[in-house]
Protein backbone atom coordinates (compact mmCIF):
# COMPACT_ATOMS: atom_id res chain seq x y z
CA UNK A 1 0.00 0.00 0.00
CA UNK A 2 2.91 2.37 -0.62
CA UNK A 3 2.17 5.32 -2.88
CA UNK A 4 4.39 5.06 -5.94
CA UNK A 5 3.26 8.14 -7.87
CA UNK A 6 1.84 11.28 -6.33
CA UNK A 7 0.72 14.44 -8.13
CA UNK A 8 2.44 16.80 -5.65
CA UNK A 9 4.96 14.83 -3.59
CA UNK A 10 7.98 12.70 -4.37
CA UNK A 11 8.95 10.14 -1.79
CA UNK A 12 12.66 9.57 -1.47
CA UNK A 13 12.82 6.19 0.15
CA UNK A 14 15.94 4.91 1.89
CA UNK A 15 17.64 1.56 1.53
CA UNK A 16 15.44 -1.53 1.61
CA UNK A 17 15.73 -3.23 5.00
CA UNK A 18 13.95 -6.01 6.88
CA UNK A 19 12.78 -6.46 10.43
CA UNK A 20 10.90 -9.21 12.23
CA UNK A 21 7.40 -8.64 13.56
CA UNK A 22 5.95 -11.54 15.59
CA UNK A 23 8.02 -13.96 13.53
CA UNK A 24 7.13 -12.43 10.15
CA UNK A 25 9.73 -10.76 7.96
CA UNK A 26 8.61 -7.21 7.12
CA UNK A 27 10.06 -4.99 4.41
CA UNK A 28 10.81 -1.38 5.26
CA UNK A 29 12.76 1.48 3.78
CA UNK A 30 15.32 3.22 5.93
CA UNK A 31 13.72 6.28 7.48
CA UNK A 32 10.26 4.73 7.75
CA UNK A 33 8.74 4.19 11.16
CA UNK A 34 7.87 0.65 12.24
CA UNK A 35 4.17 1.63 12.06
CA UNK A 36 4.46 2.93 8.49
CA UNK A 37 6.20 -0.27 7.36
CA UNK A 38 3.64 -2.51 9.10
CA UNK A 39 0.83 -0.44 7.62
CA UNK A 40 2.33 -0.75 4.16
CA UNK A 41 2.27 -4.52 4.70
CA UNK A 42 -1.44 -4.35 5.56
CA UNK A 43 -0.91 -4.92 9.30
CA UNK A 44 -3.07 -2.42 11.18
CA UNK A 45 -3.76 -4.15 14.51
CA UNK A 46 -1.00 -3.12 16.89
CA UNK A 47 -2.16 -3.67 20.44
CA UNK A 48 -5.06 -4.81 22.63
CA UNK A 49 -6.89 -2.92 25.33
CA UNK A 50 -5.89 -3.79 28.91
CA UNK A 51 -9.22 -5.07 30.24
CA UNK A 52 -11.38 -6.27 27.38
CA UNK A 53 -8.50 -7.14 25.02
CA UNK A 54 -10.10 -5.26 22.20
CA UNK A 55 -7.94 -4.74 19.12
CA UNK A 56 -6.23 -1.37 18.80
CA UNK A 57 -4.47 0.33 15.92
CA UNK A 58 -2.88 3.68 15.28
CA UNK A 59 -4.68 6.81 16.29
CA UNK A 60 -2.39 9.83 16.22
CA UNK A 61 0.79 8.48 14.52
CA UNK A 62 2.85 11.23 16.15
CA UNK A 63 3.75 9.62 19.47
CA UNK A 64 1.07 11.09 21.68
CA UNK A 65 -1.73 8.57 22.12
CA UNK A 66 0.06 5.33 23.14
CA UNK A 67 -2.28 3.22 21.02
CA UNK A 68 0.59 1.51 19.17
CA UNK A 69 2.93 0.39 21.96
CA UNK A 70 5.04 -2.69 21.20
CA UNK A 71 8.17 -4.39 22.46
CA UNK A 72 11.10 -3.44 20.25
CA UNK A 73 14.44 -5.20 20.70
CA UNK A 74 13.30 -6.17 24.20
CA UNK A 75 12.17 -2.69 25.21
CA UNK A 76 8.48 -2.75 26.10
CA UNK A 77 6.05 0.13 25.53
CA UNK A 78 7.93 1.50 22.54
CA UNK A 79 5.87 3.91 20.41
CA UNK A 80 6.23 2.28 17.01
CA UNK A 81 4.69 5.27 15.24
CA UNK A 82 7.76 7.39 16.02
CA UNK A 83 10.43 4.65 16.14
CA UNK A 84 12.28 4.20 12.89
CA UNK A 85 12.65 0.67 11.54
CA UNK A 86 16.19 -0.72 11.50
CA UNK A 87 17.66 -3.77 9.80
CA UNK A 88 17.17 -6.89 11.89
CA UNK A 89 14.98 -5.28 14.56
CA UNK A 90 12.85 -7.69 16.57
CA UNK A 91 9.36 -6.28 17.12
CA UNK A 92 6.72 -8.01 19.23
CA UNK A 93 3.14 -7.13 19.90
CA UNK A 94 2.90 -7.14 23.70
CA UNK A 95 0.31 -7.80 26.33
CA UNK A 96 -1.32 -4.43 26.89
CA UNK A 97 1.03 -3.02 29.45
CA UNK A 98 4.25 -4.68 28.41
CA UNK A 99 6.45 -6.81 30.64
CA UNK A 100 10.05 -6.17 31.66
CA UNK A 101 10.59 -9.94 31.93
CA UNK A 102 9.70 -10.59 28.28
Amino acid sequence: MRIEKHPILTFERGKEIYFIFDGKRIKAFEGETIAAALHADGIIKYNTSPKLHRPRGLFCAVGHCSSCLMTVNGVPNTRICVTRAKEGMIVHSQNPRGDLND
Partner: protein, 536 residues
Protein backbone atom coordinates in the same frame (compact mmCIF):
# COMPACT_ATOMS: atom_id res chain seq x y z
CA UNK B 1 23.70 23.85 32.36
CA UNK B 2 23.20 25.37 28.90
CA UNK B 3 22.73 29.13 28.90
CA UNK B 4 20.68 30.77 26.17
CA UNK B 5 18.75 33.97 25.65
CA UNK B 6 15.67 32.29 24.19
CA UNK B 7 14.48 28.70 24.36
CA UNK B 8 11.77 27.74 21.89
CA UNK B 9 9.86 24.50 22.54
CA UNK B 10 8.31 22.94 19.44
CA UNK B 11 9.57 22.86 15.85
CA UNK B 12 6.27 23.38 14.03
CA UNK B 13 5.32 26.53 12.09
CA UNK B 14 4.92 28.66 15.25
CA UNK B 15 8.15 27.51 16.94
CA UNK B 16 10.21 27.78 13.76
CA UNK B 17 8.94 31.31 13.13
CA UNK B 18 9.64 32.28 16.75
CA UNK B 19 13.21 30.92 16.59
CA UNK B 20 13.84 32.68 13.28
CA UNK B 21 12.52 36.00 14.59
CA UNK B 22 15.10 35.80 17.39
CA UNK B 23 17.92 34.30 15.34
CA UNK B 24 17.59 36.98 12.67
CA UNK B 25 18.15 39.60 15.39
CA UNK B 26 21.39 37.97 16.58
CA UNK B 27 19.84 36.60 19.70
CA UNK B 28 21.16 33.31 21.03
CA UNK B 29 18.32 30.86 20.57
CA UNK B 30 17.78 27.18 21.28
CA UNK B 31 15.02 25.32 19.43
CA UNK B 32 13.97 21.92 20.73
CA UNK B 33 11.74 19.46 18.88
CA UNK B 34 10.56 16.08 20.16
CA UNK B 35 10.74 14.38 16.78
CA UNK B 36 13.94 13.85 14.80
CA UNK B 37 12.77 16.29 12.12
CA UNK B 38 11.34 19.79 12.04
CA UNK B 39 8.15 21.08 10.49
CA UNK B 40 5.27 19.93 12.71
CA UNK B 41 2.04 19.80 10.75
CA UNK B 42 3.35 22.18 8.09
CA UNK B 43 5.33 19.49 6.25
CA UNK B 44 2.12 17.55 5.55
CA UNK B 45 0.27 20.47 3.99
CA UNK B 46 0.44 19.87 0.26
CA UNK B 47 -2.31 22.38 -0.51
CA UNK B 48 -1.97 26.09 -1.22
CA UNK B 49 -2.50 28.45 1.67
CA UNK B 50 -5.02 31.24 1.97
CA UNK B 51 -4.10 34.60 3.49
CA UNK B 52 -2.30 37.56 1.99
CA UNK B 53 0.69 37.94 -0.30
CA UNK B 54 2.90 38.87 2.62
CA UNK B 55 2.15 35.51 4.25
CA UNK B 56 2.91 33.74 0.98
CA UNK B 57 -0.72 32.96 0.22
CA UNK B 58 -1.07 30.80 -2.85
CA UNK B 59 2.07 28.79 -1.97
CA UNK B 60 1.85 25.21 -0.82
CA UNK B 61 2.48 24.63 2.90
CA UNK B 62 5.30 22.22 2.12
CA UNK B 63 7.17 24.89 0.14
CA UNK B 64 6.87 27.39 3.00
CA UNK B 65 8.10 24.65 5.38
CA UNK B 66 11.16 23.90 3.21
CA UNK B 67 12.20 27.56 3.16
CA UNK B 68 11.73 28.07 6.89
CA UNK B 69 13.61 24.88 7.77
CA UNK B 70 16.52 25.79 5.50
CA UNK B 71 16.77 29.17 7.15
CA UNK B 72 16.82 27.56 10.61
CA UNK B 73 19.70 25.31 9.58
CA UNK B 74 21.68 28.24 8.15
CA UNK B 75 21.15 30.61 11.06
CA UNK B 76 24.23 30.53 13.30
CA UNK B 77 22.36 31.98 16.29
CA UNK B 78 19.98 29.03 16.46
CA UNK B 79 21.03 25.77 18.13
CA UNK B 80 18.71 22.98 17.09
CA UNK B 81 18.05 20.01 19.39
CA UNK B 82 16.10 17.24 17.66
CA UNK B 83 14.70 14.12 19.35
CA UNK B 84 14.52 16.31 22.43
CA UNK B 85 11.49 16.12 24.67
CA UNK B 86 10.51 18.95 26.99
CA UNK B 87 10.19 17.70 30.57
CA UNK B 88 9.41 20.76 32.66
CA UNK B 89 10.11 24.33 33.69
CA UNK B 90 11.10 25.25 37.22
CA UNK B 91 10.23 28.90 37.65
CA UNK B 92 12.10 29.50 40.91
CA UNK B 93 15.41 28.28 39.50
CA UNK B 94 14.49 29.36 35.94
CA UNK B 95 15.61 25.97 34.65
CA UNK B 96 14.04 24.10 31.73
CA UNK B 97 14.73 20.37 31.50
CA UNK B 98 14.84 18.33 28.30
CA UNK B 99 15.30 14.63 27.58
CA UNK B 100 17.52 13.79 24.62
CA UNK B 101 19.00 10.39 23.77
CA UNK B 102 18.27 9.12 27.26
CA UNK B 103 20.08 12.08 28.89
CA UNK B 104 18.54 14.97 30.75
CA UNK B 105 19.71 18.40 29.60
CA UNK B 106 19.28 21.50 31.71
CA UNK B 107 18.75 24.88 30.07
CA UNK B 108 18.81 28.27 31.67
CA UNK B 109 16.96 30.58 29.25
CA UNK B 110 16.18 34.25 29.78
CA UNK B 111 12.85 33.82 27.99
CA UNK B 112 10.85 30.77 26.96
CA UNK B 113 8.57 30.47 23.96
CA UNK B 114 6.26 27.47 24.12
CA UNK B 115 4.81 26.31 20.80
CA UNK B 116 3.90 22.69 21.39
CA UNK B 117 0.87 22.70 19.10
CA UNK B 118 -2.20 20.56 19.58
CA UNK B 119 -3.52 17.05 19.83
CA UNK B 120 -6.37 15.52 17.86
CA UNK B 121 -9.72 15.13 19.51
CA UNK B 122 -11.60 11.86 19.37
CA UNK B 123 -15.34 11.34 19.23
CA UNK B 124 -17.46 8.93 21.26
CA UNK B 125 -19.40 6.33 19.31
CA UNK B 126 -19.72 2.56 19.48
CA UNK B 127 -16.51 0.73 18.52
CA UNK B 128 -14.54 3.95 18.24
CA UNK B 129 -11.36 2.12 19.27
CA UNK B 130 -11.21 -0.30 16.31
CA UNK B 131 -8.06 -0.38 14.19
CA UNK B 132 -8.77 1.73 11.12
CA UNK B 133 -10.13 4.70 13.06
CA UNK B 134 -7.50 7.37 12.75
CA UNK B 135 -7.07 11.03 13.45
CA UNK B 136 -6.81 13.18 10.32
CA UNK B 137 -3.24 14.07 11.28
CA UNK B 138 -2.31 10.38 11.44
CA UNK B 139 -3.74 9.86 7.97
CA UNK B 140 -1.69 12.81 6.70
CA UNK B 141 1.45 11.50 8.38
CA UNK B 142 1.09 8.08 6.76
CA UNK B 143 0.33 9.34 3.27
CA UNK B 144 2.23 12.63 3.00
CA UNK B 145 5.36 11.89 5.03
CA UNK B 146 5.84 8.13 4.62
CA UNK B 147 4.00 7.68 1.33
CA UNK B 148 1.82 4.87 2.67
CA UNK B 149 -1.88 4.66 1.85
CA UNK B 150 -3.82 4.73 5.11
CA UNK B 151 -6.61 2.62 3.61
CA UNK B 152 -8.55 2.08 0.39
CA UNK B 153 -11.96 3.54 1.26
CA UNK B 154 -12.16 6.31 3.82
CA UNK B 155 -15.17 7.87 5.55
CA UNK B 156 -14.30 11.37 6.80
CA UNK B 157 -15.97 12.60 9.97
CA UNK B 158 -16.03 16.39 10.16
CA UNK B 159 -16.09 19.01 7.43
CA UNK B 160 -13.80 21.62 8.91
CA UNK B 161 -10.92 22.74 6.72
CA UNK B 162 -8.80 19.81 7.90
CA UNK B 163 -11.49 17.24 7.04
CA UNK B 164 -12.03 18.76 3.60
CA UNK B 165 -8.33 19.19 2.81
CA UNK B 166 -7.40 15.70 3.99
CA UNK B 167 -10.26 14.25 1.90
CA UNK B 168 -8.80 15.98 -1.16
CA UNK B 169 -5.28 14.80 -0.29
CA UNK B 170 -6.55 11.21 0.13
CA UNK B 171 -7.93 11.28 -3.41
CA UNK B 172 -4.58 12.64 -4.64
CA UNK B 173 -2.93 9.68 -2.92
CA UNK B 174 -5.20 7.28 -4.83
CA UNK B 175 -7.60 6.56 -1.95
CA UNK B 176 -11.37 6.64 -2.38
CA UNK B 177 -13.29 8.96 -0.05
CA UNK B 178 -16.74 7.42 0.39
CA UNK B 179 -18.22 10.45 2.11
CA UNK B 180 -17.74 13.38 4.43
CA UNK B 181 -20.20 13.67 7.30
CA UNK B 182 -20.86 16.79 9.31
CA UNK B 183 -23.10 17.10 12.36
CA UNK B 184 -23.81 20.79 11.79
CA UNK B 185 -26.31 21.84 9.10
CA UNK B 186 -23.55 23.50 7.08
CA UNK B 187 -19.94 22.92 6.08
CA UNK B 188 -17.46 23.77 8.82
CA UNK B 189 -14.54 24.81 6.63
CA UNK B 190 -14.25 26.98 3.57
CA UNK B 191 -16.92 26.07 1.03
CA UNK B 192 -14.38 26.22 -1.83
CA UNK B 193 -12.50 23.32 -0.20
CA UNK B 194 -15.80 21.40 -0.23
CA UNK B 195 -16.38 22.30 -3.90
CA UNK B 196 -13.05 20.63 -4.79
CA UNK B 197 -14.10 17.26 -3.40
CA UNK B 198 -17.69 17.59 -4.55
CA UNK B 199 -16.61 17.84 -8.19
CA UNK B 200 -14.53 14.70 -7.57
CA UNK B 201 -17.82 13.00 -6.70
CA UNK B 202 -17.48 12.82 -2.90
CA UNK B 203 -20.88 12.81 -1.16
CA UNK B 204 -21.31 15.30 1.68
CA UNK B 205 -23.74 14.52 4.48
CA UNK B 206 -24.52 17.60 6.58
CA UNK B 207 -26.71 17.14 9.70
CA UNK B 208 -25.35 13.62 10.05
CA UNK B 209 -23.27 11.90 12.67
CA UNK B 210 -21.61 8.53 13.07
CA UNK B 211 -23.53 6.08 15.22
CA UNK B 212 -21.08 3.22 15.23
CA UNK B 213 -18.13 1.65 13.54
CA UNK B 214 -18.74 -1.81 12.11
CA UNK B 215 -16.14 -4.58 12.32
CA UNK B 216 -14.60 -7.06 14.75
CA UNK B 217 -10.84 -6.93 14.28
CA UNK B 218 -10.80 -3.78 12.16
CA UNK B 219 -13.17 -1.33 10.50
CA UNK B 220 -15.31 -2.73 7.69
CA UNK B 221 -17.96 -0.03 7.67
CA UNK B 222 -19.83 2.64 9.53
CA UNK B 223 -23.41 3.38 10.45
CA UNK B 224 -24.39 7.01 10.13
CA UNK B 225 -27.60 8.74 11.14
CA UNK B 226 -29.29 12.02 10.35
CA UNK B 227 -29.70 14.74 13.00
CA UNK B 228 -32.65 17.09 13.40
CA UNK B 229 -32.41 20.83 14.07
CA UNK B 230 -31.76 20.19 17.76
CA UNK B 231 -28.99 17.74 16.97
CA UNK B 232 -31.08 14.74 18.00
CA UNK B 233 -30.83 11.52 16.03
CA UNK B 234 -33.75 10.89 13.68
CA UNK B 235 -34.77 7.24 14.06
CA UNK B 236 -35.08 5.28 10.86
CA UNK B 237 -32.48 7.35 9.01
CA UNK B 238 -29.59 4.99 9.82
CA UNK B 239 -27.46 4.19 6.83
CA UNK B 240 -24.57 1.77 6.39
CA UNK B 241 -21.46 2.83 4.53
CA UNK B 242 -18.72 0.40 3.51
CA UNK B 243 -15.25 1.64 4.35
CA UNK B 244 -11.98 0.37 5.77
CA UNK B 245 -11.05 3.57 7.54
CA UNK B 246 -12.93 6.17 9.55
CA UNK B 247 -10.96 9.38 9.68
CA UNK B 248 -11.77 11.68 12.59
CA UNK B 249 -11.40 15.35 11.90
CA UNK B 250 -13.37 16.70 14.82
CA UNK B 251 -11.09 19.37 16.19
CA UNK B 252 -7.91 19.75 18.17
CA UNK B 253 -6.98 20.27 21.81
CA UNK B 254 -4.11 22.60 22.68
CA UNK B 255 -1.09 20.72 24.10
CA UNK B 256 -0.63 22.77 27.23
CA UNK B 257 0.99 20.28 29.65
CA UNK B 258 4.25 22.23 29.98
CA UNK B 259 2.36 25.44 30.70
CA UNK B 260 0.14 23.80 33.34
CA UNK B 261 3.23 22.29 34.95
CA UNK B 262 5.01 25.65 34.89
CA UNK B 263 2.15 27.26 36.75
CA UNK B 264 0.81 29.52 34.00
CA UNK B 265 -2.73 30.71 34.53
CA UNK B 266 -5.05 28.68 32.32
CA UNK B 267 -8.60 29.24 31.15
CA UNK B 268 -11.16 27.02 29.41
CA UNK B 269 -12.42 28.58 26.18
CA UNK B 270 -14.27 26.20 23.83
CA UNK B 271 -13.82 28.51 20.83
CA UNK B 272 -10.03 28.23 21.20
CA UNK B 273 -10.12 24.43 21.49
CA UNK B 274 -10.31 23.98 25.28
CA UNK B 275 -7.83 24.81 28.01
CA UNK B 276 -5.51 27.59 26.86
CA UNK B 277 -3.01 29.86 28.62
CA UNK B 278 -4.11 33.34 29.60
CA UNK B 279 -1.93 35.71 27.59
CA UNK B 280 -1.73 39.29 26.48
CA UNK B 281 -1.59 40.55 22.90
CA UNK B 282 2.23 40.22 22.95
CA UNK B 283 1.77 36.45 23.48
CA UNK B 284 3.13 36.75 27.04
CA UNK B 285 1.56 34.45 29.66
CA UNK B 286 0.90 35.10 33.34
CA UNK B 287 4.53 34.09 33.97
CA UNK B 288 6.56 37.01 32.57
CA UNK B 289 9.30 34.78 31.16
CA UNK B 290 6.96 32.53 29.20
CA UNK B 291 5.53 33.39 25.81
CA UNK B 292 3.28 31.19 23.69
CA UNK B 293 2.49 30.85 19.97
CA UNK B 294 0.48 28.68 17.63
CA UNK B 295 -2.21 26.09 18.29
CA UNK B 296 -1.57 25.75 22.03
CA UNK B 297 -2.59 29.39 22.37
CA UNK B 298 -5.86 28.74 20.52
CA UNK B 299 -6.58 26.44 17.58
CA UNK B 300 -6.18 28.20 14.24
CA UNK B 301 -4.34 27.45 11.02
CA UNK B 302 -0.68 27.53 10.04
CA UNK B 303 -0.60 31.10 8.71
CA UNK B 304 -1.80 32.46 12.07
CA UNK B 305 0.67 30.15 13.87
CA UNK B 306 3.59 31.54 11.86
CA UNK B 307 2.53 35.13 12.55
CA UNK B 308 2.06 34.40 16.25
CA UNK B 309 5.46 32.70 16.38
CA UNK B 310 7.19 35.72 14.91
CA UNK B 311 5.23 38.00 17.23
CA UNK B 312 6.17 35.96 20.34
CA UNK B 313 9.80 35.83 19.19
CA UNK B 314 10.06 39.57 18.61
CA UNK B 315 8.21 40.49 21.81
CA UNK B 316 10.44 38.18 23.86
CA UNK B 317 13.54 39.47 22.05
CA UNK B 318 12.42 43.07 22.50
CA UNK B 319 13.10 42.69 26.20
CA UNK B 320 16.83 42.63 25.30
CA UNK B 321 17.12 44.67 22.12
CA UNK B 322 14.63 47.53 22.25
CA UNK B 323 15.01 48.22 18.56
CA UNK B 324 12.48 50.67 17.11
CA UNK B 325 12.33 48.73 13.86
CA UNK B 326 11.10 45.69 15.76
CA UNK B 327 8.32 47.73 17.30
CA UNK B 328 7.13 48.62 13.84
CA UNK B 329 7.24 45.00 12.77
CA UNK B 330 5.38 43.94 15.92
CA UNK B 331 2.57 46.37 15.13
CA UNK B 332 2.49 45.11 11.54
CA UNK B 333 2.15 41.49 12.64
CA UNK B 334 -0.64 42.35 15.07
CA UNK B 335 -2.41 44.13 12.26
CA UNK B 336 -1.93 41.19 9.88
CA UNK B 337 -3.34 38.79 12.46
CA UNK B 338 -6.34 41.03 12.94
CA UNK B 339 -6.98 41.15 9.19
CA UNK B 340 -6.67 37.36 8.95
CA UNK B 341 -9.27 36.95 11.69
CA UNK B 342 -11.61 39.73 10.65
CA UNK B 343 -13.86 37.91 8.16
CA UNK B 344 -17.09 35.99 8.85
CA UNK B 345 -15.11 32.72 9.11
CA UNK B 346 -12.95 34.27 11.85
CA UNK B 347 -15.88 35.00 14.17
CA UNK B 348 -15.23 31.92 16.31
CA UNK B 349 -11.59 32.75 16.99
CA UNK B 350 -12.48 36.41 17.61
CA UNK B 351 -15.10 35.48 20.16
CA UNK B 352 -12.60 33.11 21.83
CA UNK B 353 -9.86 35.71 21.98
CA UNK B 354 -12.25 38.27 23.42
CA UNK B 355 -12.91 35.89 26.33
CA UNK B 356 -9.22 35.41 26.96
CA UNK B 357 -8.72 38.32 29.30
CA UNK B 358 -11.52 39.86 31.28
CA UNK B 359 -12.19 43.46 30.39
CA UNK B 360 -9.77 43.42 27.47
CA UNK B 361 -11.09 43.26 23.94
CA UNK B 362 -8.78 41.94 21.26
CA UNK B 363 -11.20 42.72 18.51
CA UNK B 364 -13.37 45.75 18.14
CA UNK B 365 -14.57 45.03 14.63
CA UNK B 366 -14.70 42.06 12.32
CA UNK B 367 -17.56 40.83 10.19
CA UNK B 368 -19.83 38.13 11.52
CA UNK B 369 -22.05 37.75 8.52
CA UNK B 370 -21.15 37.25 4.91
CA UNK B 371 -23.02 36.83 1.67
CA UNK B 372 -26.31 34.98 1.73
CA UNK B 373 -25.13 31.69 0.34
CA UNK B 374 -27.15 29.12 2.26
CA UNK B 375 -27.09 26.40 -0.38
CA UNK B 376 -23.40 26.85 -1.12
CA UNK B 377 -22.49 26.53 2.55
CA UNK B 378 -24.58 23.37 2.85
CA UNK B 379 -23.42 21.62 -0.28
CA UNK B 380 -20.23 23.22 -1.55
CA UNK B 381 -22.06 23.64 -4.84
CA UNK B 382 -23.00 27.18 -5.90
CA UNK B 383 -26.66 27.82 -6.70
CA UNK B 384 -27.84 29.05 -10.08
CA UNK B 385 -28.27 32.46 -8.52
CA UNK B 386 -24.69 32.43 -7.21
CA UNK B 387 -23.46 31.59 -10.69
CA UNK B 388 -25.55 34.25 -12.42
CA UNK B 389 -24.10 36.84 -10.04
CA UNK B 390 -20.56 36.33 -11.35
CA UNK B 391 -21.14 35.79 -15.07
CA UNK B 392 -20.28 38.72 -17.35
CA UNK B 393 -22.98 40.03 -19.67
CA UNK B 394 -24.06 38.07 -22.74
CA UNK B 395 -22.02 40.25 -25.10
CA UNK B 396 -18.78 39.71 -23.15
CA UNK B 397 -19.45 35.98 -22.78
CA UNK B 398 -19.57 35.68 -26.56
CA UNK B 399 -16.53 37.84 -27.32
CA UNK B 400 -13.23 36.44 -26.10
CA UNK B 401 -12.19 33.95 -23.38
CA UNK B 402 -12.84 35.11 -19.82
CA UNK B 403 -12.05 33.97 -16.27
CA UNK B 404 -14.83 32.99 -13.89
CA UNK B 405 -14.14 33.08 -10.14
CA UNK B 406 -16.50 30.72 -8.31
CA UNK B 407 -15.72 32.25 -4.92
CA UNK B 408 -18.84 33.19 -2.97
CA UNK B 409 -17.73 33.16 0.64
CA UNK B 410 -15.75 35.92 2.33
CA UNK B 411 -12.41 34.39 3.31
CA UNK B 412 -9.04 36.10 3.81
CA UNK B 413 -7.29 35.44 0.52
CA UNK B 414 -5.74 37.44 -2.32
CA UNK B 415 -3.50 35.47 -4.73
CA UNK B 416 -5.89 36.03 -7.67
CA UNK B 417 -5.72 39.79 -7.13
CA UNK B 418 -1.93 39.82 -6.95
CA UNK B 419 -1.35 37.45 -9.84
CA UNK B 420 -3.47 39.02 -12.55
CA UNK B 421 -0.97 40.60 -14.97
CA UNK B 422 -3.63 43.04 -16.19
CA UNK B 423 -4.96 44.22 -12.84
CA UNK B 424 -8.40 42.96 -13.78
CA UNK B 425 -9.12 41.36 -10.39
CA UNK B 426 -9.72 43.53 -7.34
CA UNK B 427 -11.16 43.05 -3.88
CA UNK B 428 -11.03 46.54 -2.40
CA UNK B 429 -9.32 47.29 0.88
CA UNK B 430 -10.50 44.26 2.87
CA UNK B 431 -8.77 40.99 2.07
CA UNK B 432 -11.98 39.21 3.10
CA UNK B 433 -13.97 40.79 0.28
CA UNK B 434 -15.01 38.66 -2.67
CA UNK B 435 -12.82 39.19 -5.75
CA UNK B 436 -14.36 41.10 -8.64
CA UNK B 437 -13.30 40.89 -12.26
CA UNK B 438 -13.28 43.93 -14.52
CA UNK B 439 -14.20 42.12 -17.73
CA UNK B 440 -13.00 44.99 -19.88
CA UNK B 441 -9.49 44.23 -18.59
CA UNK B 442 -9.64 40.40 -18.42
CA UNK B 443 -7.87 39.03 -21.49
CA UNK B 444 -8.62 35.40 -20.70
CA UNK B 445 -4.93 34.61 -20.18
CA UNK B 446 -5.79 32.15 -17.41
CA UNK B 447 -2.76 32.84 -15.24
CA UNK B 448 -5.03 33.16 -12.17
CA UNK B 449 -6.29 29.57 -12.46
CA UNK B 450 -3.31 27.80 -10.94
CA UNK B 451 -2.80 30.40 -8.19
CA UNK B 452 -6.18 30.13 -6.49
CA UNK B 453 -5.87 28.11 -3.23
CA UNK B 454 -9.56 27.26 -3.56
CA UNK B 455 -9.08 25.93 -7.13
CA UNK B 456 -12.16 28.01 -7.84
CA UNK B 457 -11.15 29.82 -11.05
CA UNK B 458 -12.07 28.56 -14.50
CA UNK B 459 -11.49 29.97 -17.95
CA UNK B 460 -14.31 29.86 -20.44
CA UNK B 461 -13.96 30.18 -24.19
CA UNK B 462 -17.59 30.09 -25.21
CA UNK B 463 -17.06 30.27 -28.96
CA UNK B 464 -14.14 27.89 -29.40
CA UNK B 465 -15.80 26.61 -32.56
CA UNK B 466 -19.22 26.93 -34.07
CA UNK B 467 -20.69 24.25 -31.80
CA UNK B 468 -18.18 23.91 -29.01
CA UNK B 469 -16.76 25.80 -26.06
CA UNK B 470 -13.68 25.10 -24.00
CA UNK B 471 -13.40 25.18 -20.24
CA UNK B 472 -9.92 25.40 -18.68
CA UNK B 473 -9.72 24.03 -15.16
CA UNK B 474 -7.13 23.42 -12.45
CA UNK B 475 -6.10 19.76 -12.21
CA UNK B 476 -3.95 18.24 -9.45
CA UNK B 477 -4.48 14.52 -9.99
CA UNK B 478 -2.59 11.73 -11.70
CA UNK B 479 -2.29 10.74 -14.44
CA UNK B 480 -2.27 14.03 -16.32
CA UNK B 481 -4.22 13.65 -19.57
CA UNK B 482 -2.54 14.09 -22.94
CA UNK B 483 -3.54 16.65 -25.53
CA UNK B 484 -6.11 15.07 -27.84
CA UNK B 485 -7.25 12.55 -25.24
CA UNK B 486 -10.98 11.93 -24.87
CA UNK B 487 -12.04 12.24 -21.22
CA UNK B 488 -15.25 12.15 -19.20
CA UNK B 489 -16.35 15.69 -18.43
CA UNK B 490 -17.96 16.11 -15.02
CA UNK B 491 -20.21 18.70 -13.42
CA UNK B 492 -19.82 20.35 -10.00
CA UNK B 493 -21.08 17.17 -8.31
CA UNK B 494 -18.60 14.95 -10.10
CA UNK B 495 -21.28 13.47 -12.37
CA UNK B 496 -20.46 12.72 -15.98
CA UNK B 497 -22.26 15.06 -18.36
CA UNK B 498 -20.54 14.37 -21.67
CA UNK B 499 -17.30 13.19 -23.26
CA UNK B 500 -14.84 15.90 -24.19
CA UNK B 501 -11.52 16.32 -25.91
CA UNK B 502 -8.49 17.71 -24.13
CA UNK B 503 -7.25 20.54 -26.34
CA UNK B 504 -4.53 21.95 -24.14
CA UNK B 505 -2.44 20.86 -21.14
CA UNK B 506 -0.57 23.64 -19.45
CA UNK B 507 2.08 22.86 -16.87
CA UNK B 508 5.24 24.63 -15.85
CA UNK B 509 7.41 25.15 -12.82
CA UNK B 510 5.70 28.36 -11.76
CA UNK B 511 2.37 26.58 -11.57
CA UNK B 512 3.88 24.13 -9.05
CA UNK B 513 1.89 21.08 -10.09
CA UNK B 514 -1.51 22.72 -10.46
CA UNK B 515 -1.86 21.88 -14.13
CA UNK B 516 -4.45 23.61 -16.26
CA UNK B 517 -6.44 21.35 -18.57
CA UNK B 518 -8.61 22.78 -21.35
CA UNK B 519 -11.37 20.54 -22.55
CA UNK B 520 -13.64 20.97 -25.55
CA UNK B 521 -17.34 20.37 -24.95
CA UNK B 522 -20.68 21.17 -26.62
CA UNK B 523 -21.54 24.84 -26.03
CA UNK B 524 -24.52 24.15 -23.79
CA UNK B 525 -22.15 22.82 -21.07
CA UNK B 526 -19.78 25.79 -20.77
CA UNK B 527 -21.17 26.73 -17.36
CA UNK B 528 -21.65 23.14 -16.17
CA UNK B 529 -18.37 21.36 -16.98
CA UNK B 530 -16.00 21.75 -14.03
CA UNK B 531 -13.89 18.59 -13.82
CA UNK B 532 -12.58 15.74 -15.92
CA UNK B 533 -12.03 12.05 -15.32
CA UNK B 534 -9.71 9.98 -17.40
CA UNK B 535 -11.23 7.05 -19.29
CA UNK B 536 -9.30 3.87 -18.63
Amino acid sequence: MIETDILVVGGGPAGISAALACGRNNIKTVLIEERDFLGGQLIKQTHRFFGSKEERAGSRGIRIAEDLMNEIKKNKNIDLYLDARALGYYEEEKIFTVLQNGRMLKFSPRKLIIATGAFEKSLSFENNDLPGIYGAGAVQTLMNIYGVKPAERVLMIGSGNIGLIVSYQLIQAGVQVVGVIEAAPEIGGYAVHASKIRRLGVPLYTSHTIKKAIGNEFVTGAEIIELDRNWNEIKGTEKKIDCDCICLSVGLSPLVDILSQSGCEMVYIPELGGEVPVRNENMQTSIDNIYVAGDLAGIEEATAAMLEGELAGLCAANTFINDVKQDERIEKIKNNLEVLRSGPKGSKIRSGLNKLIKGETFFQGGRNTGSEIEAFKKTGIPSGENLRSILPDEKRINETPFALIECFQEIPCDPCVNNCPFGAITEGTDINNLPKIDYSKCTGCGSCISRCPGLAIFLINKNYSENTSTVSMPYEMLPVPQKGEIVDVLDREGKKIVSGKVVKVLKNEKMDKTNVISVEIPKEFFNVARNIRLVK
